[in-house]
Symmetry: D2
Subunit: 342 residues, 4 copies
């Protein structure tokens, strides 16, 4: 990329946080069992359960988010069961039909600020009543959402309640869970979230890891045999230590939350600058993804020096763009962007 | 594990070779495109094509072997098409039905020293002739095989010929391709192998990488859209650089072959010692997996100090065990084992 | 069912038209080849191609509509390819996720009078552009639609054009194709429709057959091997003559159109009576499915004597119901219903 | 086919027994609920449970054998679970990979007179022990087998015992169950068989029906939702009465056993004649499929006047052929064949 050019396209453009890499390079000649039974994975799993306020549960480390989502679908759904998700959800749009390739329908419900509501879930459940239709079984939510928003505790409670009443599994795609938890817009801690949902993952890839996500299954049935599903979908890494060690580092002293806080701070700094320059946002900027609405001419200028995605065409010649910050975003890059906007 | 204990269970018990880790830790704050379009992946792909004597072709970096195999099946087979493999093949036994989960039958043919023969392939093809049966489309071979053996050039040529005559794809699972290429039993170079087959992968996980395999598609059709398949199966890593960088290191100055040579040398040292102690082998020891036949009492003793798998019960109270060496196996460990046998 | 009770729930409540049953009972001891290669199937296939104005093409006889739709999906789509359909389409709602179970996403687009528009198709195509998303490949339309409406020639031409420009297959679920073709609202003949689309089926089950649909593939590739897909999905009936004979009877002298015309006439008679009684319709009644909007109290009364589905709750205490007529509906039953409404 | 030509290729060359057709043509204008809830299906289900000596259980009527087998696999297996079957089993060879297309591995075990043994099952179970391998879950047997043989009660008891001990489902493909039950080689009644197995189907297609199989699930879990699986795989016929009525006719006064007895008698008459002419059999002829070994020259002569399949090439210029008789085979046809052999 050209010098002086900075990309706000995503939160995985840099490699990994030094603490993560250091962990990967430690004890490299110690022999460890394969397939997630190494000491680093065991330690990281315990640390994650503890951070989640859980006294039992299974933790599995998986290379990426799409792989995690599809194994969850394979493991928790019978062939005729379906998933409810916001139309803006990652599984709806940006996983190349991975869930359907496993055999399951995803109900796309209209997103409400990037979210699914309890009412929407209930409506799908009550209109799918016999064997000519699929049977809804899992509600997929992203925290933070693909539009940068955050489910409030009240929203999570409402979803949790409707799921329990209707026999649905509530699953959180936490690719950016760190960013959600430390957002000023959030009123939920990790243990509180863990209490309300059934299965969730803590994302590493988009929060300073080289790769890897940590999936938590709160109440594993002895019959669910999750490792068979992992193996069958190619998700059981031989050197499981490669993810375990990264999560040990991220979970130690809350490094993952520190990194997420940095990303959010940089996004807020961007948002403040853009706002001061007189521009509005398509969605309230509260995490590390923000969506300013800028004049087309300005967007074209910015594209010379910065990387970002055009998200949508607005009326009146304006464009919504998406800016994403990460653990590695510098104040300098942010300030350069703000100056360019101002 | 207890001090003084050494595992010969597999070739992925240690983390990764220092050159690999160093590459992972280099340029970590440089922003790179995601999903395998980073400069490291591009560079490693070029290096691999060159090492394979190919002037064109696609290279894809995938986190593990099972994932690689299942994406290949998804991409190259129509729903009614099947795979021919030796019953001892990894996809037949140790991938939890990953190929079938994608929808395809695998014909298990009796292994001949761990291999499939051209005659076996031809027989399957000629007996599957109408729409009541599946249609064989891909021949899966492992080089080296799961029994440590190596296909000779003549064997590869025969398979190649029958595949071309019958419209079959010849695919090499190269989880241990390095070990095969540097084996004294091999008479085939990488470019020679690449010429005879259609698709193959060079394994990293079992040859010094932290994780990752490099898949080579020699003659990609513009219609095959392999990246869609990768994404759909969760095999498109966001930070593709994490595998690209490792392969850049492994391919530089033939590091991967040096590591494989070390593993083979250690296996040969083990074999020589075991042989001198008067024991035979179930399969000729030529790569980094060897299969001595030892008295049960001796095996029980060895199990106190060394890790390995019992492979099969022989008549007369003997047991075939599997010993695997790696890039990280030390002469000390080998010599301790040999003393314990002798 | 109680005497005097008549069901307008569907068009498959009666067994089969006498001409169909007679054909099934003819030449029953003649030995015929199995799996659709019998003389009745061959004859019916020729008759259908001729009626469609086609000089080439494949015809396959399949036991039911869902089975037909899923085999078409299996045969024509690669794993990452998707289907575009109106949200009211049969594959979206009433096939229990059969298409997704085969591995493919269905884009549900908002129905416009039960139909998909060319603009909607184009929008899906132009927003699905890379390997993170599925790749639209087939447009599914029902003629007549699930809401009783009929695509006009202009609408079909527009769809046909967008499909050809974008490399999409245009597929017609013709479960009620007879009813569409003979509708006063239709300006398209079967040969005209066959010219504009790629694959379509003529429904038997809902038009006087005991069971069975006739699928026409206009331009079969020598590589598509459709019979393999049929066999693999359990859709290749051993005694293919059982469907072939029925279609021979239905296609002879246009019996199928005569039966459809009767069903439409009965629906029109119902609609006229209901309309005269002062009630409106949710969708214009033009085929054998009509959707009057009636007061709740009246609906409750009618439910004592007639079978039908409540389709939707309207504001102001009214209910939309669905009434379906068939080849077997009598004027008496219609007139009883009309009296009960009036 | 040429006059005077008679086919012994299969047992589905003729249409259907008159009693079956008569039932199809009865009460055709009575309105009935769809999808297997009609009175004929309900009546036939009760009759079948009673004939099986079962006081509870579910019966489902499905259009064909492959469809039945694949729905059973879809409904009873989790993604990582597999089926054990004899290599000569219909699902192994002649269903175009239908089970694998649903996602499941089939272990092909060497056939012993067309059968699987309890020892073979136990061996597969005890060697599949962790998540790197599939998990055996269902044993598939055909009664009678594809080689015309019949499991004895002792064999069924041994299989039943090993299945119960190992948590496996014992499933009987009864495409030719009638022929088995009335075979002189059988020492098992239908209630006795029903007691020993978990799921079985009674074949109609190959025993006088126009099409259709009757699946019995002895101990349906309230959670298994079998009708969802039927619908999703296209196996829920709208006019379920079309199969229900046939089975009412077949089950009335044991018509199905009478038809099977005729087929067996014709096969025995063939076998006796062939045997008297000095020829041997590849498998003992005990049901309606027999496998004489004849000189090639004789086979070539016979092929001029009779239809049958060459089953295998024997040493010494002989050929094993398969002859199949049905409910419709005449003594004349049999005697013509015998004369031609003699």
């Amino acid at each position: 990329m050209p010098s002086g050019y900075f990309s706000f396209k995503n939160d995985y453009a840099e490699a990994a946080h030094p603490a993560v890499l250091e962990a990967l390079c430690r004890d490299t000649t110690t022999q460890e069992p394969g397939y997630g039974e190494d000491s680093a994975s065991v330690g990281a799993a315990e640390a994650l359960l503890q951070a989640s306020g859980l006294t039992r549960g299974e933790v599995h480390f998986i290379a990426g988010g799409t792989l995690t989502n599809l194994v969850v679908a394979a493991a928790f759904l019978k062939p005729y069961e379906s998933i409810i998700a916001a139309e803006s959800g990652h599984i709806c749009l940006h996983e190349a039909g991975a869930i359907e390739a496993i055999g399951h329908k995803v109900h796309h419900v209209p997103q409400v600020n990037g979210k699914v509501t309890a009412e929407q879930v209930l409506k799908i459940v009550t209109t799918h009543t016999d064997e000519h239709m699929v049977r809804p079984r899992l509600v997929y939510i992203s925290q933070s959402t693909e539009l940068g928003s955050v489910y409030s505790r009240a929203e999570l409670e409402a979803l949790s309640q409707v799921c329990r009443q209707s026999g649905l599994i509530l699953y959180v795609d936490g690719a950016r869970l760190g960013s959600a938890l430390v957002s000023a817009a959030s009123d939920t801690t990790l243990p509180e979230l863990a209490k309300l949902v059934d299965v969730f993952y803590v994302g590493g890839t988009k929060n300073g890891a080289l790769f890897g996500e940590a999936l938590v299954i709160k109440d594993p049935s002895p019959e669910h045999h999750f490792r068979y599903h992992l193996k069958q979908r190619g998700a059981l890494l031989a050197k499981g230590r490669a993810i375990g060690a990264q999560f040990e580092a991220l979970l130690s002293d809350g490094v993952w939350l520190t990194l997420a806080r940095h990303a959010n701070t940089m996004a807020a700094r961007l948002a403040t600058g853009i706002s001061r320059a007189g521009h509005r946002f398509a969605y309230e900027p509260v995490t590390n993804q923000i969506f300013p609405i800028l004049p087309t001419a300005l967007v074209q200028q910015l594209e010379q020096r910065f990387g970002f995605y055009r998200w949508g065409q607005e009326s009146g010649g304006a464009v919504t763009i998406r800016l994403v910050t990460s653990w590695a975003t510098s104040e300098e890059a942010v300030d350069l962007f703000v100056s360019a906007v101002g």
